[in-house]
Every structure is written in C-alpha cells, then in structure tokens.
Symmetry: C2
Subunit: 143 residues, 2 copies
C-alpha cells in the first residue's frame, strides 16, 4: 500500500474516506506522511502526534465493532503547490441506526513530498446539532 | 489596520493571539484574508464561512464581558511558500478565575497573497481535561 503515489490532495482525501468507510486500517495508515509530526485529532479527543499514536487510535476505532460511514459536504479548499487544506463537514452514518448524527467538522491538510501527496493533519470536532447546518454559506460539494 | 503587511505566518499568528488577548475586534479582523472562503470554528461551534459571520462571532465573544487569555504550547508547523499550517494547544486562562481550564486544540492556516500573510482558517475544539495533555510528544514551543 505504501507505494501508491497520489497525484493530488483530492485523490488522497478520496482514498482516506474510502479506507475509513471500509474500516481498512492498513489502507488508511498508508496515506499518512512518514514525517514525525503528523497530527490527528478525533472528535472530542486529544491531539495525537506521530504515526504510532495515530495508528493505535484508528486500530481501536476499527476494532470497536462500530461501523461508521462518512459522507462529505461543503468542501472549502485552500491549495498551493506543496500544501493543500480542505475543510469539510462530515455527515456520520452509524450502520444499523436510523437517522442522521450531528455533523463533524474536519480540517484535513495534505503535503506533497517525495512520495506524492500525503495526509499530514486531520482535525475533526463535533458541530452542534442544529437544523440547517448543511445549508451554510459557500456550499461546494467535493464528493 | 488593514494596511499592515505581515512577512510570515508566525507574525500573523503572534498578532492574532495578541489581538485576542486584548479583545481588539478590529485588530483581529484585519488579520484575515479578504477572500470569500475564510473559515472559523470556535470550540463546540458550527463552521462559520466568510468575514461577516466571523466578525459577528468575535464581536459577540468580546462583547460578552468574558476576558480570556490564551497561551500557546507545542506548536507543530507545516510550511510551504504560499500556505502555512500551525497546530497549537491553547491554554485558556479566564480572567478572575483561578486554575487552568482544559486546553483547546487549534489548527490555524495562513496564506500568502498580495497583502502578505493572512489568516484563512481557524479551527478550535476542546480537548479532554486529562492530566499531562501539555506533556505530549513532539513538544515545540512557538511562543
């Protein structure tokens, strides 16, 4: 998996949410940069720094038996040749449950390095459960 | 205020937290990029898009009478010539109260444009109140 070269931040993002939705730990971890200072913040969680801590957190999530599906809405993108920042609203669907959970706001940062584009930061936090949160200004569907 | 040119993302970040600590709305708003898709997420809040919504939120915060002071810890930086991403732990001190509040995790994104470096995204979310949160891996003091 670690040999895949992604030509754009969007490709990495697609692969990230695809791996998440499949609960595929190895596919998900292969998308991260191998630098020391990668950062991951799960909703309500502490800041995790480094691949080891990040891997353990996803392993725990995927091992919990809870199957989550994420759909993205309203992507807002700041791009440059070497870094790309994507702010998205994640609509969380819990498998086996009816209805929609409150959205999660995520800031994803991708960097271009010797191995193509990779994920360097994922910051997710719960948004308030208010009506119309998916109807905010500047709607742009990235997926 | 809007004529100040900042030569680095770090300079904007210093000015941002300085304006925050002084409760100076105009100084704080002058640091944002004037593009349409600036993003601000306050701890526990919805995603705000655009200068108007962002200004209103800060106006409300500063108008509430609550005086907050932020100190930054453990900055982790991803920089490129046109974009810079800074992940920090904000230690919040409420004026007139003893003790420390739980930390807030912030992802700040700065972009370089015709008017120098400006803030384009501020994503803040509460971290769990656990002991040792300021002793995490990769400690790097940026301020």
């Amino acid at each position: 998996m670690s040999q895949v070269l992604y030509a754009s931040a969007e490709d990495v993002e697609n692969a990230f949410y695809d791996a998440f939705n499949r609960g595929d730990l190895e596919a998900l971890m292969a998308l991260w940069s191998e630098t020391d200072d990668v950062v991951c913040i799960h909703p309500g969680g502490s800041r995790l720094v480094g691949l080891h801590a990040i891997r353990e957190s996803w392993k725990q999530l995927f091992g919990s038996g809870l199957r989550l599906r994420l759909k993205l809405h309203h992507g807002i993108i700041q791009s440059s040749p070497m870094l790309s920042v994507r702010s998205v609203l994640q609509h969380v669907v819990v498998e086996g449950e009816d209805g929609m959970s409150p959205p999660v706001i995520a800031t994803n940062v991708y960097a271009r390095g010797a191995f193509g584009w990779r994920l360097v930061l994922h910051h997710a936090s719960p948004a308030p459960d208010i009506e119309g949160v998916f109807d905010e200004e500047a709607p742009r569907i990235v997926h």
